[in-house]
């Protein structure tokens, strides 16, 4: 039975193969801020789709944004979702910010489920953004400046979030590789504490940095 309480230094430990801690606030706060910026842009687009404002800011493509946001593709998605696609974008970006903000600076080990949920929110969102840009190009035939901005932000979020998701997945993979114990893997996923899990985490932390 271990009763060791981790020190502050442990909580902020760098995680190989990185020379930094991917769960540090300095890594996560920029993700949250950028996600909130994308959410605000999506609110602007949603207000137009709801008909609460008459025009969309677009310094590059003129009426292109309005064509995209009122296109048949957007209308079809509205029919399927029950809400406008821009509103779903607001929720998705808010989700990125919320899930990015929750958890301590060692959540890659303490709450892998939260990091993986964060990854599930961020990474598919990046893929959806690319798909929507392709829809603009090949289905609608118009471009929407702010949609392209949010798509670029989505891809940047994927790039920024990947390191933490990778570390959590590596931690879970190491547990499986060392123990082949489903119950232990389940405990690790939900962040339950256990001496064997602590030892695996320490082995991960003691790996050499590339």
């Amino acid at each position: 039975m271990s009763n060791q309480i981790l020190s502050t230094q442990d909580i902020h430990a760098n995680v190989p193969p990185y020379r930094y801690n991917p769960s540090a606030w300095s890594q996560r706060i920029p993700i949250c801020v950028l996600a909130l910026v994308a959410a605000l842009i999506s609110v602007h687009l949603s207000l137009f789709q709801w008909g609460l404002i008459d025009s969309v800011y677009d310094p590059v493509f003129g009426d292109g944004s309005e064509n995209v946001l009122k296109s048949d593709t957007a209308t079809t998605m509205y029919g399927l979702l029950g809400i406008h696609d821009a509103s779903l974008g607001v929720l998705a970006y808010l989700g990125d910010a919320i899930l990015g903000f929750a958890g301590s600076t060692r959540r890659w080990q303490y709450r892998p489920w939260l990091v993986i949920l964060f990854g599930i929110d961020v990474i598919p969102l990046g893929v959806v953004s690319v798909v929507l840009v392709l829809c603009q190009a090949f289905l609608v035939g118009s471009w929407c400046f702010l949609c392209l901005v949010t798509a670029a932000i989505s891809l940047l979020l994927v790039y920024w979030a990947w390191d933490e998701v990778r570390v959590s997945l590596t931690y879970l993979w190491l547990i499986w590789k060392e123990h082949h114990d489903k119950r232990l893997l389940w405990d690790a996923f939900w962040g339950r504490r256990n001496e064997r899990l602590d030892a695996t985490a320490e082995r991960l932390l003691s790996r050499e940095v590339d």
């Binding site: 271990s2 929720l91 504490r193």
Partner: protein, 115 residues
């Protein structure tokens, strides 16, 4: 406990939303929204008490019901029902946030470990 605070504030929005969307004369919508908001207040409030600290997870069920009601009650959904879809999806994200989410879980704070 910021997740619980956000849930409580979102429930306030849900309770007043029939008036915002001008459907306060529809008794079903009005009382359903107030009832659902009350459930969210209850589950969030119970999460502050240690024996029922996981009560916020029940909001997942409430919010899933809210999304389904909003999506299928009327097709296409009216603005009031679109609000239900948006609020439901938002609450789903918030409800999974643990209490004291910015701190390590209790086991690490108090040094409890199972051999």
């Amino acid at each position: 406990m910021w997740g619980r605070v956000v849930e409580i504030m979102t429930a306030v929005w849900l309770a007043v939303s029939p008036f915002v969307f001008g459907v306060q004369d529809n008794g079903t919508l009005l009382w359903a929204d107030i009832g659902i908001a009350s459930l969210i207040w209850l589950f969030s409030g119970l999460s502050y008490w240690r024996p029922t600290r996981h009560a916020h997870l029940l909001i997942l069920l409430v919010s899933a019901g809210l999304v389904l009601w909003g999506r299928f009650a009327e097709i296409p959904p009216t603005p009031a029902h679109q609000n239900h879809i948006v609020v439901g999806l938002f609450l789903m994200m918030i409800a999974v946030i643990p209490n004291q989410a910015s701190l390590p879980p209790q086991a690490w704070r108090h040094g409890e470990s199972q051999a």
